[in-house]
Each structure stands twice: as C-alpha cells, then as structure tokens.
Amino acid sequence: MKKAITITRAMVCLFLLTCGAAFAQNPARISVKGIVIDSSNTTLPSATIMLLTPKDSALVSYGRTETDGQFEIKGVKRGTYLLKISYMGYLPYQQEFTPSEGAVTDLGKIQLKPIMKELYEVVVRTAKAPLSIKGDTVEYNAASFKVPPGSTVEDLLRKLPGMSVDQDGNIKAQGQDVKRVTVDGKQFFGGDTKMATKNLSAEAIKKVQVFNDKTEQAKATGIDDGKKEKTMNLELKDEFKKGGFGKVTAGIGDKERMEVKGNYNKFDQKNQFSLIGLGNNTNQVGMGFDDFQDFRGSQSFNWNDNADFGFGGGGRYFYFGGDEGDEDLSIPIGGGRGQGLTDSYAAGLNYNYDTKKNKLSSSYYFNGKNQILDALSSRQNFLNNNASFNTTNNDYTRNQSYNHRVSFRLEKMVDSLNTFTFVGNGKLSKGNTRYDGLQQFFTGNSELSNQTTINNRTGFSSSAAALTGIYRHKFKKKGRIFAASGGYNFTNSDGDATQVSLNEFYKITSTNDLLRNINQFNSTLSNRNQLKASLLYVEPFGKKFSSETFYNFSTRNSIVDRNVKNNESNLQIDSLTRYFENTISYNRVGTSLRYNYKGINISAGVAGQQFSLRGNFTQPKKPETIVDQKYFAWLANLQGSLDLKNNRYMWFGYEPNVSEPSIKDLQPVVDNSNPLYIREGNPDLLPQVDHNFNVGGNYYNPGSFMSIYFGMNYNYHVNQIIYNQNIDSKTFKTTTKPMNITGGDNVGTYFGLGFPLKKTKATMNLNGNINASKNLTYINDVLNNTNNLSYYAGLRLDLTPSDKFTFYGNANFGITNTKYSINTAQNQTIYNHRFGAEMNVKFPKDFYFNSRINYNVFINERFGFNQRQPIWNASVYKQIGKSKKTEIRLTANDILNRNLNISQFANQNYYSESRTETLARYFMLSFTYNMRGVKDQMRRSGGGW
C-alpha cells in the first residue's frame, strides 16, 4: 500500500515550488514527520494526517501514514501548525507544534486513544449526533435518544453514556457532579440544576452538551483559579421557540365610513391557534388571501382532498375555499369589493395540530352582511323581423345574511403505507331580502306597454354539511396505489316569501286582462341528501407506463315541498303549490393508460357513464307526474404534457364533460309565479355534452427574465340545453322552455410575453386573446344565431428604478362584435378599454405616498353609449418607530367621485346595461399596528419565491 498519500493541488504546488529549495537547506520550507501508534504500540497505517493553521483551523496540507505508521508532509511553510490525525475507531488527535531547527521536524511517536465503544455506539451510531472533540476532553452533543413521550430531561439523561442521575435528581457526568445546568446558555431558574432537568420535557431538547467551565466564582471575580466544574447546557429545539404574530387596523372616514380588522396567530412546530375579526361599511367583503393563510395556516391548501377520483386520479389536487355561494361551505376569501353599499362583519377562530403522523384542524367562522343594492337597469330584447322591445327596471334591494361555518379535518397516517383523511364542513345560514321594484316594458317605438310594481319580502334559513372520508393505501410495489372514498352531503332549507305585485297592461283591450294583482305567500321546504363513493386503483407497468382505473357512484335525493296561498283569501293556490321528489344516480367506470417518462406525460382513457333520473311531481287535484330517464355515454379522454429542455413546456388535451339536465328543467310543470315570465319544463331533455380541446405552451428563461405563454381552447356543445323563448308581441309575456341543440361552440386563443426593458429596473408585459363564440336560441320558433367575436390586448409596464420610486402602468383594450342572424340591425360593437397607473414614492422620515388611477372606457355606438370613468385613489402613510410596527394612513377613495358601478351585457337576443349605486368618494384615516412590522407597498408583491 505505497500509494496511500494523496496530495492536493495546493500541496503539489508547494511541493514543486520548494523542491529545489529543500535541497538547498532553505529553512523557509519544512517537512513534518512522525509515526502514529495506538495504545498498544501498534503502528496505524493509512491514518489521515492534516496540518491546520492554529488561528482558524484552515487546512494547509494533508497526507496519510504509510503501512509502517510513518508519515511525512513535505514542503510546508515554516510556522506553527495544528497537527490533526484521524483514524477509524480512535478519537481524533490534535497537537499544536512549532517546527524545530532544520528542514525536518520529527514529532516522534504519536499515540491515538480509542473512542469508548459505548460512547461511539450510542452517541454517534444510534443518536446520529455529532460528537465534539476539543483537545483531550470530549464534549458531546446528544440528541434524538428515544424516550417515551412525556419524559423529562432527567429521563433522557439516564440514557446518555457516561451520565448518571441519582434518586434525588443529582447528575453526574463522567463521574463528576454537574454543578450547573443552563438552557440555551442561560441560567434556568436560579441555578438549581434539578429545576430544568425535572421540569423540561425531553422532547424539547435538541442537544445536551457537557463541558468543563470556569467556576462561578472565577467568572464573577475574573480571576481564573484554574478550577473547572462540570456544566451541562440544554439546547432547545428550534421548533420549541414559539412564535406569535398579529395585527390590527382601524380606520374612520367621512360619510360614517369605518373599518376594523385584526388577527392574531400563535404557533409552535405542532400547534397553531389563530383568531380573526373584521367589520366595515366600505364594501370589503371577506378576508384577504394573506389573512386567510394566516388564519388557516397549514390547512390553507389541502392536496389530495378530492374524493371524486377520475382521469388523472394519480395526480395531486389543489383544494381551497372558493367564492361565497349559497351552498359553499368553505370560508369566503378574496371577496374583493362588494356591490352597492355593503356592511360586512366576520370573526373566526382556527386551531391546527400538525405532527408527521396526525394532522388535525378545526375552525369556526361567522360572517354577516347587510347590503343595499339600488340599481337602474335597461334591457333591449330583440324579436324576429327586426322587432324589439325594451324593459327598464328600478330595483331597490335590501339583503341581510348571516352564516356560521365549522370545519374539521383529520389526516391520520396509520403507517407508511396507509393514510386516512376525514373532512367535515358545516354551515348554518339565515337571511332575508326586501325587494321593491318597478319594471316597465316599452314597445319598439318607446310606448309604455305594461308595467309591474313588485314588493317582495323573503326570508330563509338553511343548514348544510359535507362529510368526506378518504382511505389511501400504497402497496409495497412502488407506484401501486389503492384509494377508496365515501361522502355524505346534505342541505336543508326553509324559505318564506311574500310576493306582492301589481301588473298593469296598457295594450290589452280586454278589461279582464288590464290589471293583474299578485298577493301571495309561499313557503318552501327543501331537503337534499347525497351519498357518494369512489374507488381508484393505480398499477405501474415497468418504469414508463401505469394504468389508472376508477369507479364513481353518487345518488342524490331532493325533496321540495312548496305551498303557495293567496294572502287575501288565505286559500291555497293549487296551480303554484307542489311537492316533488327526485333522485339522480350516477355511475362511472373508467380506465386510462399513462406513459410518463423523462418529462413526457401522456394519458389516454375511456369511461362509461350512466345517469338515471327519477322524479315525481305532485300538484293538488292533479295526477302525479313521473319522470324516469336513463342516459348512458362513452367518454374518451386524452391529456398530454411535455417538459422539454431549457424550461419549455407544452400541453394538449381532449376532455368531454357531461352534465345532466336539472330537475327543474325536466319537470313537466308550468311555473307562472312571474306572470310575465312563464317557465315550462321539458321531460325529454338529454344531457349536455361539451367537448373541450386545449393546446398550449410556455417558456421561461430565468437568465434573461423573459417568459412566453400561448394556447388555444375549443369547446363544442352537443345537446346544449338552451331556453327557447316565445314572446307575445302584444303583452311581451315571455314563455321559456328548455331544449337540446347541437352546434354551438366557442374558440379562444391567448398569448403573453414578459421581458425586461432594463433588467431590475423596467419590465414589460404584453398579452392578448381572441375569442369567438356561437350561441343558438329559438326565438318565437325562429333559430337565432348570435356570434360574438372579441379581441383583447393588454400591456403592462413596471418601473422599479429605485427604492424611493416605483411606477406600474397598464393599458387594456377590448372589442366585442356581436352579430345576430335574425335581427341584423341590432349588430353591435362594444369597446371596453381600461387604463391604470400606480405610483409609489418614499419620502424621508418613513413617509410614503401612493396614488392609483383607473380609467375605464365603455363605448357602444349602436346605443350611443359612451362612458368614461376615472377612479382615483391616493394615500399618504407614515411608518412609526424603529421597528416600524405602526402605520398611520390617510386614504382618499374615488377622489373624482365617479364610481357608478356600470355593467353591460350582450347575448343571444338581448343587450342590457345596469348601474348600481355604490360607494363613491370618501376619505379615511386609519391606524395599523403589526407585531411583525408593517410593510410598505412600494413594490407589488410578485410571488417571487
């Protein structure tokens, strides 16, 4: 074994440089030699020899001992070195030396000491803890010794080698009494050694360090008496360093505007407890996304909570709360600005407990809302033969609603192969609405034809819950997975309504029809139960292929019991009173084959899907009607993605969606609750099938910060469920009936490009899309084909020249062309352009200024509509204190007082526009305290992590 000396580049250099010099007896370069032996004088071959600088342990040179235990390190600069020798099974040896006279320094025999077997086995091997060695004494850091949960530090110490704890709790290390115990280097409760060891939990300890320290007396006097005493330091795990943060913002403005919000969050590695509350009358509905994350913590997003396995069932699903819908059980987030004038208030608490094996979470959230919606809207309805009629609405709506939500989730990893997840969400809601409206109908030449005055009062209360259980099993064979899920959902609601309306018809000759009053009271009880179950099996075939087979079952039972009576006579109105019950069952079996290798991921599959709809409708004094329909469909599925070199991705797919007709559309009953808008059902409806195709790609170059994306979607509707309309040309009474139609479609393309104009200072983003859609409807038995073609282009410029000034500008242009096949005179073009500019300036003394203008343009030449709306908001704020925990802000909203909440819509056979009275100009002074420090808003957060 002559080749045992390995030489680094550094050493070779030194060696070559000094070779000649060494022969010339130059003492500036020396050789160091010696012989390494063990305690029984046996020489140790191939021991590692290192020369370090004593000052900072920098490695200067190294080598190895020969078979006879001799080593020689040649050609190192003359100087004091630390010689370090390591050899398996021995304590690393360390010695400082100054070279002797002459070219060779012989250190003679160097004896290594074996590592105590006990220490080695327990500390190094079992605990996988580093062992620290300083000179002759061993300081050891021990962690992860297995002790039962709930053990104290004392129990832990008993397990450590060389450590003993007597019955009174006195500690000995290497035979000596431990005089002092510190925690993270600090005295723990007045220096009683037992206080810490008896009270601290073993789980909280990361390291136990025992070392010799100067005596307290020596430390106090500064005179080193040479005595050393054993000291033990307990280093706490990072996770046991607890955290907490919170913030509160309160603001007050003119026009009685107010807002308050706050949250508090307390956490350690396992537990998180959070509180949130908010209230305002400034249309801020729901909490922001950041606040939601603070509130829900590790439960903000849950992978794999989707229990409805289907195509792509092996992938991950991303589930989190959505919009605030009637049946939405998750907490509303990012609600943005409410419509009209909205007062909102909410409060919640959340607790999460997370360990590797068990994850438990529960939350309660309450929110309420008072909303005033005063809207003025008009709608132009096109009939065939270029005829049309107009309606105008004056609506006054008052909504009140309250929701209580609870959630519970438990994820239990039984072992490395089996996991159970249980998710339960529930909601209780109550609300009422007052609606007062005046609806007027005008003929094409602007004559008032009829008008309706409505005064409705409704109230409801509902309860809903969704319970889901998922079991996942991984087999020993890698990639083989079995999963089963079951779910139960229910919704109960109880609603009452008083409907009062006065309908006046001016174009009717028969006096009987001239006036029609409605004054009725209805109560509706509805109840819905759904049972679901799914199975998934994934089988890998070699490295590249796998199959995914799934089965879904669902049965949903709905009962609606609706009683309508006349408010004056107190008699039941038979034509509107009904009871119906229906059950929709669903079975789907499918399988797909996936190729997934080296970035190419393609799957193709097929599924058979069966629906059955059964329903019975009962109306007083009429025979029971029964609907019994069964549908079956074969569905193919294709998905592909390519992860190409240098950050290029491509994807494509085909996916059909089948949606069953709603029971409301299937019921063969005429609904005349609105005398001017009669709904008929159609028991012959077929399910709608949408064929979706998509293809796209993106590219990102991190080096140049350039990104590109593009794509195309196509959607073809087969048996699309549309509502045919028959409009009485005299009364404008509309009768609708659902029907299937094939041939509607839409196609969209999109692209985006982002690149820096000047790196770190200016970034440009361009994007655009083109969409075309074809919508079919029958109007008075004539097929109307509405074609929408829209173009959109956007441009964004981000200027971030310095920490003191930032500017964000955007311009978006939108054009929509609508063409009608039967009423070509109504063809129109809508322009909707949006421009925005935001500026942030930082002034001295932590003063900041933010100004933001949005300028919206709506143009519809056909109706002579040309609306330009600038909304300008600005604020000045100051951060206070060194740690910047406080902020005072003065905000001016809608400085130009132009917020009108306008919306326009053109489709099928109507064009509508509406204006809702909303919050316009107001000023607000607000105060924020954030325990973690407030952040300025100079930069838009770009999600740059």
């Binding site: 390591s86 398996m88 620290s132 994350q293 992978w303 930069r939 770009g942």
Partner: protein, 240 residues
C-alpha cells in the same frame, strides 16, 4: 475499550460509487430572501410546513484520479406522488490528476459547459465527528463566496478520495454529507459501494455554452443580484 475496526479498514477502497439523497428545504431557502418580511416568512412556513420536500437520488462515481457526480435515477420520481419529472443536464466531473473540472449544467434556461482548472476551496477542519452511511466523518467548513453560502462538509478519511457531492471537494477524504446554509440544501450519503466504475466515469458527449470558472461565477452572481433586486427567488433556477 474496544477497537471499532471492521475487517475492511486496512484495505483501502478507492473505486466505487457513493449514493446520496439531495434535498432542498424550501422554507429555509425562502427565509434567506431579504425582500420578504418576517410576517411573510412566518406565513409561508405555517402554510407549507406539512409539505415534504422531495428527495433526489444522486450518485458520485469515484476512483483515485477522478470523480463524476450525476443523477442516481434516469428521471425524478417522488415518494408519495405519481409525479415524475425529467432530469436536467447535470454532470460534475473532477479530475484530480490533471486538476480539471468539467461541469455540464442545465441552469438558467440554458446548458452551460464549464471547463477550467479546479478551484481551491479553503476548508477549515473542525472538532466534531459523526457517522454518515456507516463511516466516521469529521466536520469541515468553507464558504461559497459566489452564492454566498455557508458550507459544512462531513468527510471520512476511510475513503481516501478528495471528492464530494455537488461542487465540493478537496478534503483528505470523501465528503459524505454536504450541508449548505444550515440545512437549506443537504446531500447526504445513504450508502457506498465499492466496484469498478470505469464506464460510469467516462464523460458522455458534452454540449452546452462553453464558459470558464470566472465567466460561470459571473453569470451566477449577476443572476442572484438581479433576482434579489427584482424581488424574485433566484435559487430555483440555479442548482443551489
């Protein structure tokens, strides 16, 4: 007191492969970003703490003269998921005899081919020992000035090769554990096999943008600086 020598200690084994698991702790990585507030960091940690960081299997082939570090499997497969992904180009070759480095790295949306002399790493050898993959290792620390990282390496004198995973080498024994920035990135040896690896040590056909040490360091440090200024995380697009 007993000697803890196994039969193999005296026989030098100088050819084989070290299997590593490479793991990025992205919460720690994100905590390094200077443009995030403490609140944002806490929020992210609380939100994502249950999400495991995937482990990548890596191999280091070695003999007395050279080492070659590359992927340990032909694509990335993640433990709990059916997710698989393509391996980026990654070959880190060190020739200790000719003192040459050859790195083929797909980073920053490009494949770079770094061919130059070996840079000297200034190691400090510390006083701790621990076991990694059955070997007693000593601790050494260094600093990566280009990436601004604190490097901790655990090396064993029992494998007398100055190689290591990723970009570290130059200690009196094989580096079996690499820890950059207190656990932000770890490459930990799981096992060592001694066998003939001549075939695996042969460099494949090399392609990519040719750069030298200085040019490559300049690309990395400029990218890190620019990204931090643009408030983006630079560490995903380079091999941290």
């Amino acid at each position: 007191m007993l000697l803890l020598s196994s039969g193999g200690v005296f026989a030098q084994k100088t050819e084989g492969v070290v299997h590593y698991e490479y793991q990025i702790n992205w919460i720690k990585m994100m905590k390094k970003l200077p443009f995030l507030t403490q609140e944002e960091k806490d929020r992210m940690e609380n939100t994502w703490k249950n999400d495991p960081d995937p482990k990548q299997k890596m191999n280091l082939y070695f003999n007395e003269k050279e080492t070659l570090y590359t992927w340990g499997q032909d694509q990335q497969e993640y433990e709990d998921e059916n997710w698989k992904s393509r391996n980026r180009e990654l070959i880190i070759h060190r020739n200790f005899e000719t003192e040459k480095r050859t790195d083929m790295l797909e980073i920053l949306g490009k494949t770079y081919l770094v061919q130059d002399s070996l840079k000297h790493i200034e190691w400090k050898v510390m006083n701790q020992i621990k076991e990694v993959a059955g070997y007693i290792c000593m601790k050494a620390v260094a600093e990566d000035k280009v990436k601004g990282q604190k490097i901790t390496a655990w090396f064993t004198g029992d494998i007398p090769i100055s190689g290591g995973p990723e970009q570290v080498y130059g200690l009196p024994g094989m580096i079996l554990e690499l820890d950059a920035d207190d656990g932000t990135v770890m490459a930990i040896a799981t096992s060592v096999e001694f066998k003939e690896v001549d075939k695996e040590l042969t460099l494949p056909k090399l392609k990519g943008k040719k750069v030298n040490n200085q040019e490559f360091d300049a690309v990395i440090s400029k990218y890190i600086n620019d990204s931090i200024k643009m408030q983006r995380n630079p560490y995903w697009a380079i091999r941290y």
